[in-house]
């Protein structure tokens, strides 16, 4: 489902459908997280991606498209070349991964419960992630401002 969705998403010519396929693929990933019982991440995934980004994307699609029309198909040569390159990369990475024997960490697992996560996220002690949290807030702020400034409506030239 993930892969399928992804492939459809990058190939379908109807941009709107592409967005929907992307949505499916993302939800699939969320499912995967659930299955790995990382509920928190799954939740974040669904909230941010499904609830945020995809919606954003769809809005922008509405803004920039008269719905329903096809996108221009990619140039053949370009897509072929890209396909080859991607395939090559895929093969390369996979072979390397298969060659590689992953060493398993010894220490006992930490329960990735929301509680734990919350504690760690806001603590500055060992395994504390306060700083990144702060920094991200700065980042969000900045990008918000930037986005506003840019996207703010300027008089369309006659």
């Amino acid at each position: 489902m993930i892969i399928g969705g992804a492939i459809m998403a990058v190939t379908s010519l109807k941009i709107f459908r592409a967005a929907i396929y992307l949505l499916f693929s993302l939800i699939g990933i969320a499912g995967l997280y659930f299955w790995l019982n990382y509920e928190f991440i799954a939740a974040v995934q669904i909230v941010v991606y499904v609830g945020g980004i995809v919606v954003l994307i769809i809005f922008s699609i509405f803004l920039t498209h008269h719905s329903g029309e096809d996108m221009k198909a990619p140039k053949i040569a370009q897509s072929v070349f890209a396909a080859i390159a991607a395939a090559a990369g895929f093969a390369l990475t996979l072979t390397l991964i298969n060659r590689h024997s992953f060493l398993v960490g010894a220490e006992k697992a930490v329960e990735p419960s929301v509680n734990n996560i919350g504690m760690q996220m806001l603590s500055t002690t060992e395994h504390g992630y306060l700083l990144p949290f702060e920094v991200i807030s700065m980042l969000l702020l900045a990008s918000m401002i930037g986005a506003i400034v840019i996207a703010i409506k300027i008089k369309p030239k006659a």
Binding site: T93, H100, L130, L131, I136, M138, I145, I150
Partner: protein
């Protein structure tokens, strides 16, 4: 926590302070007069820069996520100094701009990001800093709001840097997978040079090489430089490059030192490709900003050459060169911005006979270009020489020969511009360009730097002493 914390994180805190101050100003919207605002901002920046030289301490915070020491502080102060210069040079442009405050907020955010990136203690912070330094920058590229090129530049910036950071992230994830840690202090112990690790390492390297616009990851550079407002362009070419170089110096080299030989060869290949391509592309440019973009690519090649040395000497020469490079490049951009501000001309051919009406500006430009080309008596000569000297230390004389002969090629296109300014005839040359007081100051500082930094060995000695 406590006093310790404030001292160690001083640069970042200072920046955050300024940012919030600006936010408040923005929201409260009290001061209408632009110039006063600008002067306030600049003064604050100056303070921030000056503060960089007092009570510095070594230490780490947040369980090693944040580390600092004299070198890092020095690097940060260099960056903030460059930013100050840029904001001075951009004075005239900003006065007209209605989003001046946002400009500063974003600018400083990126600077903050760079600071975090420099003093990052693990990959998470590194990546965060990188993004923090990139995304607002993309927004900044778009700040000539009604200019088409500007937003196109922004697009190219954001898309390609997103792609690059994807590569970087993939690399990091693989590193994580193969070593099980993200903390720099622990990482080298886990590096065993396995193939997957190599792949990861190369991905990471390329993620940063992209930001340095190392060939063949440089294509975005020219377009973005051309499209963005001059201030942003100079910021891109000097500060963000510098930040990445600093990251190389203070983090990556030590981090992957266990992969010595590969690391060296990787650098060598990048150097050769970068210098060659940079020169070849710069040769036929007509837009002066594109031209400077490619020239900066070549410069990066030389910086990497210095880094191949791998010892303190190399790092010192690289830092020194960056200082010189800030002076010279900003001087060049300063003149370019003046011209493009008042005449909208950005082509080298427009500069024909420039000297006729602009004696001082002509000399400033010329000196800056000489400094970039590494011609004495400008400081650029010393910078380049030290880089090359450092690069030759490993005894790789072919590389040395390659680099020094390429200097000649690069001289060719720098001289093209000089020729345009001084020699080429032009029936209606550019009129006398006016420049406001801050710009004059900034250029003055740059010229002082370009000339004095070379003769006065103190700066270099200071850098060395700090690194030791």
């Amino acid at each position: 926590m406590g006093k310790e914390f404030f001292i160690l994180m001083k640069p970042e805190l200072g920046l955050m302070l300024i940012i919030f101050l600006l936010l408040i100003l923005k929201i409260w919207d009290g001061i209408k007069e632009k110039t006063t605002l600008l002067s306030i901002v600049n003064i604050v920046l100056l303070l921030n820069f000056v503060a960089g030289f007092f009570f510095n301490k070594e230490g780490t915070l947040f369980s090693g996520m944040y580390q600092t020491n004299d070198i890092l502080v020095l690097e940060k102060s260099i960056l903030s100094f460059g930013t100050l210069l840029i904001s001075l040079i951009a004075w005239d442009w900003l006065k007209k701009h209605e989003h001046m405050l946002e400009f500063y907020i974003l600018l400083l955010t990126t600077l903050l990001g760079m600071n975090f990136m420099i003093s990052a203690g693990n990959f998470m912070m590194l990546y965060l800093g990188l993004e923090l330094a990139t995304i607002p920058l993309a927004a900044l590229c778009n700040f000539d709001l009604e200019k088409l090129k500007s937003s196109e530049a922004a697009l190219k910036m954001i898309l390609s840097s997103a792609f690059a950071s994807c590569i970087l992230l993939f690399g990091i994830s693989m590193l994580y997978g193969t070593t099980g840690t993200l903390i720099f202090s622990e990482l080298p112990a886990h590096l065993d040079g396995g193939m997957l690790q190599m792949l990861a390492f190369i991905f990471v390297f390329i993620g940063f090489a992209f930001k340095l616009s190392v060939v063949p990851f440089h294509f975005w550079t020219a377009d973005v430089y051309e499209g963005s407002p001059v201030a942003v362009t100079s910021y891109l070419s000097v500060i963000s490059k510098g930040a990445i170089v600093f990251v190389f110096i203070s983090t990556l080299i030590n981090l992957f030192s266990t992969l010595g030989a590969t690391w060296y060869h990787l650098l060598v290949i990048s150097i050769v490709m970068t210098i060659t391509a940079g020169n070849l592309f710069a040769m036929r440019q007509d837009n002066i900003k594109r031209f400077l973009a490619f020239s900066s690519i070549t410069q990066v090649g030389y910086i990497l050459l210095g880094l191949t040395n791998g010892t303190d000497a190399g790092s010192a020469s690289a830092i020194y060169f960056l200082v010189v490079y800030i002076f010279s490049n900003l001087a060049a951009f300063g003149v370019v911005s003046m011209v493009s501000e008042q005449t909208g001309k950005e082509n080298i051919s427009d500069f024909n006979g420039f000297y006729k009406n602009n004696k001082v500006a002509g000399w400033v430009m010329a000196l800056a270009l000489f400094s970039l080309a590494g011609i004495p008596p400008t400081a650029g000569f010393f910078g380049k020489m030290f880089l090359v000297t450092a690069g030759a230390a490993k005894g790789n004389y072919l590389l040395l020969a390659f680099a020094s002969l390429n200097m000649v090629v690069s001289l060719y296109y720098y001289l093209r511009v000089v020729k345009a300014i001084f020699i080429n005839a032009n029936e209606n040359p550019i009129e006398k360009v006016q420049s406001s007081f801050p710009v004059k100051i900034a250029l003055g500082i740059c010229m002082l730097g370009v000339i004095a930094t070379g003769f006065y060995s103190g700066i270099y000695d200071y850098i060395v002493s700090v690194i030791k």
